[in-house]
Symmetry: C2
Subunit: 566 residues, 2 copies
């Protein structure tokens, strides 16, 4: 059992770091100076021209078992693993999502990673960075203004006012904007109608940016965005409204990934940040393409457990981007496996019970079904899994041993990693396993063919990935699926928006639930981004602030120093 | 008479320019490399530490006669004059406002300057630049979210729901957001109330940024922002809501001015962009302080005619920033003086009539009262005026001669400038006059003392600057003034929001109107920014898009090239 002295806070560790000039970081990665545009001293944008036609590096995704509401450390693992790989002489790079600024002022400060496995500069990462989220907000809202402007000037395209799906976005936690009425006032102030705001991370433009492979593709996808439907049910697009080119112009610089660094000075590409529930929850294809052009090994993250993030990573991101994954890390913790024993009643937003900390290998064993299911999910894609035991100071060796036994039994590589407390040095065992796994021959197999019907795709994910017995559609969902097939959206991949706290759609079901059916309440289409999503749960797309949000603790001193960010 | 071949478009000229590395531009200005943070290759932010305690340069403001709706070329004159001054060996720098992005997609593309007197890179200038407007939007809207969050959690501060003055902002032309109802939906979605959005340029935070002199001052002003009033009429501030520190953190980098360059490679500091009607319409104090610390001569701009922009520049910006102006350029055009003859019925948004182009020195003479009034306005501040005749290709020498005669009669320096067609070379005569004027002893005298009552201040501007016979207050305006005096806001300077198309408050009155009274309909307080404003006209704070906005003509090509921006 390890009981080190308590770590300093993430902000303390990040603030104490001496950052390398970003030009050196880029040069280590192998990106030519003409493709590096500095944004401040420690951040740069990388030109899309830095991508080669063919990847040279191995491609590793970090996924996890079904997490507790606290999260099990995927991002810290991406950073720690990358740091370790560089220590072992591999030119490794981490590719990650950018944190959303709004929630930084909500419940807690942001961060990418934690302890001695973080991406820095932490303050810029959590605030504006290079303004990409702002650009996405502006492009999204220009389209919204064009919709209402079109209605104001006579609605030539015959948009059905009761069927306009395009809302507005803002990167702020503001519950009062969820449902609003616009166009109040006089005749010159537009048409009165109900609509609302989502947080920018939930914008279709955000996920579209992660899936666009070039400026040309960006422009084309923007044009295909559907803003609503005519009285006869015909989709109306951003192209129809004539503003897709202007949106692309607003997004031009935002399509260039941002280069930051790990605490150990290695490269980290941070780009975009779509939601993990209604969207793919992955960073961008272009960042990974650039990374794979230069690095020996690219480590990226897919949101939530392998049922959620990894499934979408494989079926949507890899397929759209023509990316071939070589290995998948499954982050596992003792505490989460204990929760999967079913002996705890865990509620989101509350701390885990103290009793979880007692040495109890049997309780870990009782939760192993969840890990087993995630290993099988990854294997079904033809990709080598590696189990990463993300060690906490309160863990006991006997508990780690139980996990190792399962891995051995299933013939899966496994390592304990202590990157939060020890940085890259603590993840070297994991790095060696990942290097070995990535060398194994991989044969990537998606869950479904794009030519399959939308219902077949949803069924394939529900039964083959989640282990459901089948799918039940609410009448509105069935109607929407028929509409989308008719409108020609049938060949899009699908995303299923469900809870991330269970492999099933019921957040209270731990382990590997069986004997359940997936209830699809509603189906929507992000035609521009390029997928249809089925909603099987409550999806909040605009968070609120708490009674006393973190904003009250954040302060700027006279010399410009920031405190309270985490 | 000059009839050159037609000029290429602003975008063509800007695109053809070869930009100097921004580090060289900074070095020429005299800013040390440690204070220069590159944002891309051709833009940098300048650290506030680059400002010295004492200014070393002369300070020149560019104002104008009462303009036609097309504008008479103040910005081009700032740029052309700075280019000319550098040609003459003076280390001159231009300080300018950043154009607002929203309107770029509205009626026309943006720009700073025109022809061969522009600030570049034009595309970045007109889009996100370094994200300052986005940061201002985010800080403003965090406060708005905090207001509604406070109401949602019980309204401990007893805000009167009918007297909440803080709205939201966005940098987009979107008429449907002018008046909205928020908080629709369920109990968890906040309180239902009516509010709205303004464009970001109209945000109090925008003008606050231009008047803040340090991080400490920024933080203090943010805390003083009034968001509304209690049932008993007591103001409630951002400090009361506890989020002023977080707002300051969001704005930290935005308080650093942006260094760009003129087409001739000289330095231009571009920073913030408050409205010229309800706000001061000037760029920031900190940019000018930095500029004055290094340059021989700083040329800045004040919005609209001298009655509007120069008055606020002197009475508000110079006083708040402790800045001492040395000379004021009054930009004059033949076409505007002809309009001031009163013989034309000019409408905003429509082209000027062809008949204006005929040689007609008498018509110019008939409009001279307007120029005379602006010269007297500038002189009353104890500052040397210089008349700049901004020559158009259609002008006739006889028409210029009429203007020269008035200047001679009044003992005012005067020069013709052809900077749009010829760049700095065309403004060298003007530059010589400005250098001479700036060497004359100046004794800056504000129009009123800060200790005067608010009504005395409004009256002083109306009678002494505008030439009104007096002021009439609507009952609500009189009540508001009494409330502000009682609340302790009586020592703030004032801004009068009126039309810029006449020295009077009636846009149809040309020349130098007499025999009229200023009707003040409403009075509001921007307590955080630090001024009270009286409204004497219709002030639109959220523009709309036209039927076929410029957004429809803006396009991104596959190689990332932007077209249609102007």
């Amino acid at each position: 059992m390890t009981r080190p002295t308590p770590l300093p806070s993430d902000l303390e560790i990040a603030s104490a770091a001496t950052l390398r000039p970003v030009a050196e970081v880029a040069s280590d990665l192998g990106v030519a100076p003409e493709h590096v545009e500095p944004y401040g001293r420690d951040v740069a944008k990388i030109d899309l021209a830095a991508a080669a036609n063919e990847p040279r590096g191995k491609y590793v995704v970090v996924s996890a078992i079904t997490p507790t509401p606290l999260g099990e450390g995927k991002t810290t693992t991406v950073v720690g693993l990358t740091q370790a790989l560089r220590r072992l002489g591999s030119n490794a790079v981490a590719t990650l999502r950018q944190p959303s600024m709004g929630p930084t002022f909500g419940i807690k400060g942001g961060a990418a990673g934690g302890g001695y496995s973080q991406v820095v500069p932490m303050e810029r990462l959590n605030l504006h960075l290079t303004g990409d989220f702002h650009a996405i907000t502006a492009a999204h809202n220009l389209l919204a203004a064009a919709v209402d402007n079109h209605l104001h000037f006579g609605n030539e395209l015959d948009l059905d006012l009761r069927n306009i799906t395009w809302r507005r976005v803002m990167d702020v936690n503001d519950r009062s904007l969820r449902n609003i009425v616009v166009g109040m006032g006089a005749r010159a102030d537009g048409l009165v109608r109900e609509t609302g705001f989502d947080i920018t991370a939930a914008s279709e433009v955000m996920v579209l940016m992660t899936l666009a492979t070039s400026y040309q593709d960006l422009r084309a996808r923007l044009g295909r965005i559907v803003v609503g439907y005519t009285g006869e049910g015909k989709p109306v697009s951003a192209e129809d409204l004539g503003v897709a080119g202007a949106m692309a112009v607003i997004l031009r610089d935002a399509l260039k990934p941002n280069l930051l660094q790990t605490l150990e000075g290695g490269p980290a590409l941070v780009h975009c940040g779509p939601f993990g529930n209604i969207a793919t929850g992955t960073s961008s294809v272009v960042a990974d393409q650039i990374a794979l052009s230069h690095a020996d090994l690219v480590v990226t993250e897919a949101g939530f457990g392998a049922d959620m993030g990894a499934e979408r990573f494989f079926n949507v991101k890899c397929r759209v981007g023509g990316l071939e994954p070589d290995a998948a890390v499954i982050v596992t913790t003792v505490r989460a496996l204990k929760v999967h024993s079913g002996r705890y009643d865990i509620k989101a937003g509350r701390p885990l019970p103290e009793s979880l900390l007692a040495e109890n290998p049997d309780e870990v064993r009782a939760g192993l079904d969840n890990l087993r299911a995630h290993i099988e999910i990854v294997r079904a894609f033809g990709v080598s899994p590696v189990v990463a035991i993300n060690a906490f100071p309160q863990d006991h060796d006997s508990e780690h041993e139980v996990i190792r036994e399962l891995a051995a039994e299933m013939g899966v590589r496994c390592a304990v990693t202590r990157h939060v407390a020890e940085g890259g040095a603590g993840a070297e065992d994991l790095a060696r396993e990942v290097l070995a796994a990535a060398e194994e021959p991989a044969a990537f197999i998606p869950t479904y063919a794009l030519e399959d019907s939308l219902t077949d795709k949803i069924e394939a994910i529900a039964t083959q990935v989640y282990g459901a017995d089948g799918v039940d559609y609410a009448p509105a969902a069935a109607r929407a699926l028929a509409t989308y097939e008719n409108a020609g959206f049938g060949e899009l991949p699908v995303v299923i928006a469900k809870t991330h706290l269970s492999i099933s759609s019921d957040p209270s079901l731990m382990g590997a639930p069986t004997g359940w059916r997936l209830p699809v309440r509603e189906v929507r289409a992000n035609v521009g981004a390029g997928y249809v999503y089925a909603i099987a749960g409550d999806m909040r797309t605009m968070p609120g602030l708490s009674r006393h949000p973190n904003a009250e603790r954040i302060e700027l001193s006279a010399d410009g120093t920031i405190t309270g960010l985490s």
